[in-house]
Each structure stands twice: as C-alpha cells, then as structure tokens.
C-alpha cells in the first residue's frame, strides 16, 4: 500500500474538497497549536430571565474561553461560585498558556497533579472541568467534527431525558404538591416520560414519619393517576443519615422507581454499600464526586446501581467518559446531571449519544425553554422526550454575539501568552 504522510493527506483533502465544508478540518492539525489567551466570561447578576421559573430568574454559570494562535476559540463552562473558579483560573493559567490545547490528557494530568498537592476538588476542580470542555470544543472545531464523534460516535440516535421538577426551576410557576398532576400531565403531553422530584425534606438528618408520608403521597398520586407511564427519580440532596436513608428506601420499594439519588453525602462508600445491599431501589450517586479516582472506590464497594456526574464539576467531559467506561465494567449505567448552563446541557447530549452505558439524562423545562435561549441560539429542545446533539463542529452551540454588546456578558482577560 502506498505510504502517504498525514500532511499530504490533508493537503490532498483540501485540494479535492469532495467533502462537505462542515466535515473538513478547520486547520492543518499536523501543525502545533498554542493557547494564546484565556478569558473568563461572567454575566450580569441582575439579568431577569422570566418565564415562570419559580424562584430562579438569573444564571449562576460562567464560561472560560481559550483562544489559540490558529484563530479557534474553545468555550467551557462551570458553576455555581464564579469568584472561586475564576480566582483558580488565574492561579492555574500558567499551566495553560503556550500549551497545545489538543493535548487533553497531558494538560489534565498536570493540572490535576498540581491541585492534588493540597486536596483536589472544589473551585480548582470545577475550573479544570471548564478548561477540559473548552479543549474538547477546540479539538472538535479543529477537526471539523461534532464532539460526540470524538467521544466514540453515536451509540444511539437520540438521548432520552427526564425533567427535574423543583419549585425553583419550575414549569410556569407550578409547585409539586398542589400542582403535581398538572405537572405530570404537562410532561406526558410532551412525550417526557420521566421526572425527578424532591419529595422528602427535613430540618436535620432525620426524617419524621409524617414527613416521610407527606413525601410518599406525591409518588402514590402519580402512580394512582397515571400508572407506570411516568418513570420517577427521587433526589434526597445528600440530606440524610444512614437510618433515615434506609427508611425512605424501604417506603419507596413498592413503587418501582427509577432510582434514589444522593440519599446521604458521599463521605463513606461503605454506608452506601449497606444501603444498596439492603434495598431493591436502584441507588444513584453522585454529581458531588469528581475524577475516576473517587468513583472507583464506590464501584469496588458495590455502593451504587446508577452513576451521576456533572461534566462541569467532575473533571470535564474527558474525565466523565473515563468514569462511565469504568462504570460499564460493573454493568452500571450513567445518568448525567445537567442543571447548570447551556454548554453543560449541550455537551452532555454529545456524551450521552456516545456512551454505551447510558440510562437517561437530566433536563429542565424552564432552563431549555427560557434560560438557555437567552444565551445561545441552537439549544437542543426535547422532542417526544428525547434530544439530539448538534452536528456542528465541537460543542456546536451558537453563542449569541449580542451578549457581548449589551453588557450582559462581562469578559475578563485572565492570562495572555
């Protein structure tokens, strides 16, 4: 077979140009590329989005933009404490400027090792996640491929979503409890056949029998009136201690729920293993963990049945992929957390299309109907309960240019090569 150099191959491809433009690589990828400038993008705190989101009106996410000497700009995202994150970006910017942004694992490793010198996590980990997302966005743009193609291609044509239903990110100001069936019907009418709810609350780590019964009444009502049409996930927000978690799981057993999420804080995999071994309810955890190193211990202890992560917290899309691939060896599926900004949601759609061990992805009606469209043009919206990732190169979202003219977006140059 005739040997051809990569450069010759690329030049030939450009010359012939038989491929549609979107599939051509945007740059000559055999040449080095450098990060030349790092920007932090935050948003006016008094933005009022509206749309009946309950308590929520504004946004809590921030973006990182990596500029390169090839003209490609990659954007990453994280939330919710932008001051710590952007401070961390300043501290770590020397690790990034001048590096080739396509060296994804090498940069991740250097960044992680530096932060792990003093307890990895927090703002430092969130900003690494955003940087990693921006790097993958660059790789996608540079290669002319949508991100899911670089994460393994399409394992499924569309991604099933559930709706996270809280008073805070509400559907037209409705509230669970008084409006439960109105909400369920609203979702079912749109083909959304799964929802996550927060029925159990307590002042402390103990749940009283009354509070337990109050919470169960939501689930009973959904099952009584719509049978098994709706899959139900229950999130406890890490609120409870082991005995209360066990009592809640036991109460949920007859209702065949999809999963029970974050019953306790993730401080002890053995406590989770005990809960998982004692209940038939699938145990899901947790977007509060980061890196494959933290998840590994939960897998080994048989502490969970479903994993959740947040791409903008766990170390970024490349780390998320590694966590899911490891979970797959335990036959554990993935259900990503997406209740942040538009890039998290869109990037999660890419990953979910690719993952062999995908279960269902989070979405929120208020966010994709009102919040995200305020910032980007082509946000994927569920159709019959499923979304499809963008075909544009990289993450593929069109960020609205007017944000940068109206003063809604505040751009700060953090470092320049």
């Amino acid at each position: 077979m005739k040997q051809t150099t990569r450069r010759a191959f690329i030049e030939q491809a450009f010359a012939v140009s038989a491929l549609p433009a979107a599939l051509q690589s945007a740059v000559n990828n055999s040449e080095p590329m450098k990060i030349t400038k790092i920007e932090a993008v935050t948003f006016r705190q008094d933005i009022k989005i509206g749309g009946g989101g309950g308590g929520s009106e504004a946004t809590e996410f921030c973006w990182v933009r990596l500029h390169t000497d090839k003209g490609i700009v990659g954007t990453g995202e994280t939330y919710p404490f932008h001051q710590g994150e952007i401070g961390a970006l300043r501290d770590y910017s020397r690790t990034l400027t001048g590096r080739d942004p396509r060296d994804i694992d090498g940069i991740w490793r250097a960044f992680y090792h530096r932060m792990a010198m003093r307890n990895a996590g927090g703002a430092d980990m969130r900003i690494l996640s955003a940087v990693n997302m921006a790097q993958l966005d660059i790789l996608g743009q540079a290669s002319g491929l949508p991100l899911y193609r670089l994460l393994g291609g399409k394992t499924r044509p569309r991604v099933r979503v559930y709706n996270t239903t809280t008073d805070y990110w509400a559907i037209n100001n409705t509230k669970m409890g008084p409006d439960t069936m109105k909400i369920v019907q609203f979702l079912l009418d749109r083909g959304i056949t799964a929802m996550k709810i927060y029925p159990f609350s307590a002042a402390d780590n103990y749940i009283s029998n009354q509070a337990l019964e109050r919470g169960m009444s939501w689930i009973k009502e959904i099952r009584d009136k719509t049978g098994n049409q709706m899959d139900i996930c229950v999130d406890l927000w890490g609120r409870f201690d082991l005995p209360s978690a066990q009592r809640i799981a036991k109460a949920l057993e007859p209702y065949n729920i999809m999963y029970l999420e974050d019953a306790m804080l993730m401080n002890n995999p053995k406590a989770y293993a005990q809960l998982a071994s004692e209940t038939s309810v699938p145990i899901c955890m947790s977007e509060t963990l980061a890196t494959r190193y933290e998840y590994r211990e939960f897998f080994e202890n048989k502490a969970c049945d479903v994993i959740m992560y947040d791409l903008t917290w766990c170390g970024g899309p490349s780390e998320a992929k590694k966590i899911s691939d490891m979970a797959d060896t335990y036959l554990i599926p993935t259900s990503p957390h997406t209740c942040g900004g538009p890039l998290l949601y869109a990037c999660s759609a890419h990953l979910c299309a690719a993952l062999p061990n995908f279960l269902i992805m989070e979405s929120n009606y208020w966010k994709y109907t009102h919040q995200y469209p305020r910032f980007v043009n082509n946000i994927p919206v569920p159709d019959k309960g499923h979304i499809v990732p963008s075909e544009a190169p990289g993450i593929g979202l069109e960020i609205k240019p007017e944000l940068f003219r109206s003063g809604d977006a505040i751009v700060e140059t953090v470092a320049q090569a």
């Binding site: 404490f81 401070g87 961390a88 792990a116 307890n119 703002a123 430092d124 002890n268 977007e287 190193y293």
Partner: protein, 414 residues
C-alpha cells in the same frame, strides 16, 4: 478613612492578653471578614511567602486569625462566596458553622479553594474562642498531652543560611548542633539524581535507585544513628516504583516514607504498607475525617500526616488524630506553609496523645515568620513549646502592613 486609622482600628495588633476581657459567655457575632494577602513579588531570602490570612471580626471586639495557602486568587474568590454563611453568626459555634459550610460545598465535588477557606475560617474561630475564654487553644483541645514537641527539619529547597539540601554533611552538622535530630529529604525528585525528572514518575532504573541513596549514606556517615531520616517522595510515583524505592531503603532505618503516590487510591497504599517494613506516612493532601477514615480502614498507613490549614482546620485535625489513635497510628503534622499554620499545628499537636514528630523549616521560623509575627516559637534543643497566650497567640507586626508587604481587604461586613 486614612490608612493610619485603619491600622489603629485593627484588633489583631492588640496583644492577645488585652482581649481577654471579651465576654466569654455572651453571644457573639461575626461582623466583618477580612483577607490579608502577601504582596506577590515579595521575596525574603529568595523565597516568596504564599499564604492568605482570614480575619474574623466580632461585635465583642475579639478578632480571630486563620490561614491557608497557596493559590491566593482562588482562596480570595472562595472566601467571597462563603462570606454570607458567616456574617451575623456566632463564631464560637464551631461545629455548626463547619457543618453548614461543608454541606453547602458538598453540593459540588468539594475540596480545593473552598475547603482551604473553610479551614482558615475554622482556625480563626478557635482563635476567637481561645481569646474569649482567656485560654491558649491547646487548653481547649484537651490540654497539654505533650510538654514539648519533637521536630524534624525539612530540606525542600528552603535554605539554612544559604546551605541547601545538596550539602547533607553541612546541613546535618548544623542541625545536630542545634539539637535537631531528624531531617526530611527529597532525593527522588530533587538533587543530582532526580529520577522523577528523567522518567516522570513512571519508571526508575536500578542505577538511579542506588544513586538516590547517596544523601542517606552521607548523613549516616556523619551522624550515624543520631539523625532520624524521613523521605518525602512528593506523590510523584506509581505503585511499582514506590515498591522498589521502599525496598531499596529497607536497610537504612528510615523514620518514614511519605507520599510516594497521590493518595487518590488508598488500596495502592495498603499494598505498599503490607510489602515494606518502612513506616508509610500519608498525607497532607487529604482533607476531612471522611477521607482519612478510609486510609485507616484499609491499613494503608503507619503515620498520619495532615496540614492544619488544608485538612478542614483545627477541629478536623483533632478528629482525624483521635480516630487514628484507635488504630495506634501517630500524627506527624505538615507545617511547610505560613506562620498561623505553625502556631495552629503547635497547639493541635500539644493536645495529642498520639503525637509522633512535627515538621519544621528553619528558614520559615527563622527568616520568614518573624517578618510578620512577634514572638514566633522556635525549636530549642530540637523541641518546640506551645505559646501560653490566649487563642493561638499570633501577634501581627504592623510594619508589613505599613510597607505594603501585607495587604488587607474587607471581603464582607454587616
């Protein structure tokens, strides 16, 4: 407000005894949170201080000081985010505030900058409680379990009057003369061999293994067994390299082997600890009792190390050591940071029944801390003693604030 008034109004410059009158019983409120950062281009003997102080002011006139390091910008941002959880709260409710902040930051993967700031806040709270009670902090942690604390000196690039770690004979003689009979060295990622620089921690040759023993053999030649030697591997190695290094060190009576690998898989540490007779020490890189519990559970460690300004603070350090004690594991605190770390570690370690040996750095307590702090505790005959003043006993000098070496900023106030 003029700068001079600002300095005058500042409680931290009062002597700790002057604050003793503060009501210990009455409720107290945090009214203002300040951050102090060291000027970024400041060099003292070629070393740049990199810590951040947190000052909690109260309506009772008592002010507490806490600290963490490095990453000043991230710490600054994180403190701004946490400030609303503190203003108006009673700083003597130490457990409640820790738990509330920890829960808040546990909605995301916790750690990093916000854990460092939770840590600094906790230390400042203990300082306040001690001042309000008129007691040194160690007395609130269980009193004097140790009359004095044995220290070793860390040779990690910090100079001793210009001498550095590549001169092991001179350093050994200097330390022994001062009665300091233990030293920590870094032959695997510093010095002439530096096998890490050659292979990135993924491989080590037989020749490098042998050459790396050189400083140990030279110390033994000068001091015999009078000098204890600890090895720090800076978490740069994989498991097989760690095993090989440990095996090569077996004949030398090592005090402990610290941080050969990152502590993000403690099963790997359990394997190492099983295979070597050298005591394994980990790790100031971990925070909270929850992370340390796993280490004990797995028998992954022989000596526990934490950094009081990283691990969650004085409260968390004490809890970790008390849990370690149930496994017969002693404590060796990491202190290679700022002056409040040094004071807070001395108080904490003084109260521990399972104390082993504490890190100290000659350059830090001799050159750097005194630039900012009065009456820095200094080892005498190899031992350091806790200060008796109420709280931590940290008394800030005014000069660095006047000269701009230390910069105060109000983060939040009522």
């Amino acid at each position: 407000m003029r700068r001079r008034d600002l300095l005058k109004g500042a409680i931290p410059f009062c002597t700790p005894f002057a604050q003793r009158a503060a009501s210990a019983a009455g409720p107290m409120k945090i009214t203002k949170i300040e951050m102090v950062r060291v000027r970024k281009d400041l060099r003292i003997h070629d070393v740049s201080p990199n810590w951040t102080w947190v000052l909690l002011h109260t309506d009772q006139g008592v002010t507490g000081i806490g600290e963490s390091y490095p990453s000043q910008d991230a710490n600054h941002g994180a403190l701004k985010e946490l400030a609303p959880l503190l203003l108006g709260k009673d700083p003597t409710n130490i457990e409640r505030i820790w738990q509330d902040i920890f829960y808040r930051i546990s909605y995301q993967p916790w750690g990093g900058a916000e854990m460092r700031m939770l840590t600094a806040i906790n230390i400042a709270q203990w300082d306040i409680l001690g001042k309000a009670a008129g007691l040194p902090v160690y007395k609130l942690l269980g009193g004097k379990a140790q009359e004095k604390l044995r220290v070793y000196n860390t040779m990690n690039g910090w100079p001793i009057y210009g001498m550095r770690d590549h001169d092991p004979e001179k350093v050994t003689e200097f330390l022994l003369k001062r009665g300091i009979k233990a030293v920590k060295i870094y032959p695997y990622d510093r010095g002439p061999v530096n096998a890490f620089a050659r292979h990135g921690g993924t491989f080590i040759t037989q020749a490098e293994l042998k050459q790396s023993l050189d400083p140990i053999q030279r110390i033994r030649k000068v001091a015999g067994d009078e000098m204890e030697i600890a090895l720090d591997l800076s978490s740069k190695w994989n498991l097989p390299c760690s095993l090989q290094i440990a095996r090569s060190l077996e004949p030398y009576g090592i005090l402990y082997l610290e941080d050969p690998m990152l502590p993000d898989n403690l099963e790997a540490y359990a394997t190492l600890a099983r295979e070597t007779s050298i005591p394994v020490c980990v790790s100031e890189r971990l925070a909270t009792r929850f992370r340390f519990r796993e280490m004990f559970d797995l028998h992954a460690v022989d000596v526990v190390m934490y950094d009081v300004t990283w691990c969650g603070g004085i409260s968390e350090a004490k809890k970790i050591s008390d849990m370690a004690d149930t496994y017969k594991i002693p404590t060796s605190p990491h202190t290679g940071g700022g002056p409040v770390l040094w004071f807070a570690s001395i108080h904490t370690a003084t109260s521990l029944t399972n104390f082993y040996i504490m890190e100290s750095v000659f350059h830090l307590y001799n050159d750097l801390y005194p630039h900012f702090i009065k009456d820095v505790p200094t080892p005498v005959n190899g031992y350091v003693t806790a200060p008796g003043a109420p709280g931590l006993g940290v008394e800030l000098r005014e000069e660095p604030f006047r000269s701009g070496d230390a910069v105060r900023e109000t983060i939040a106030e009522i």
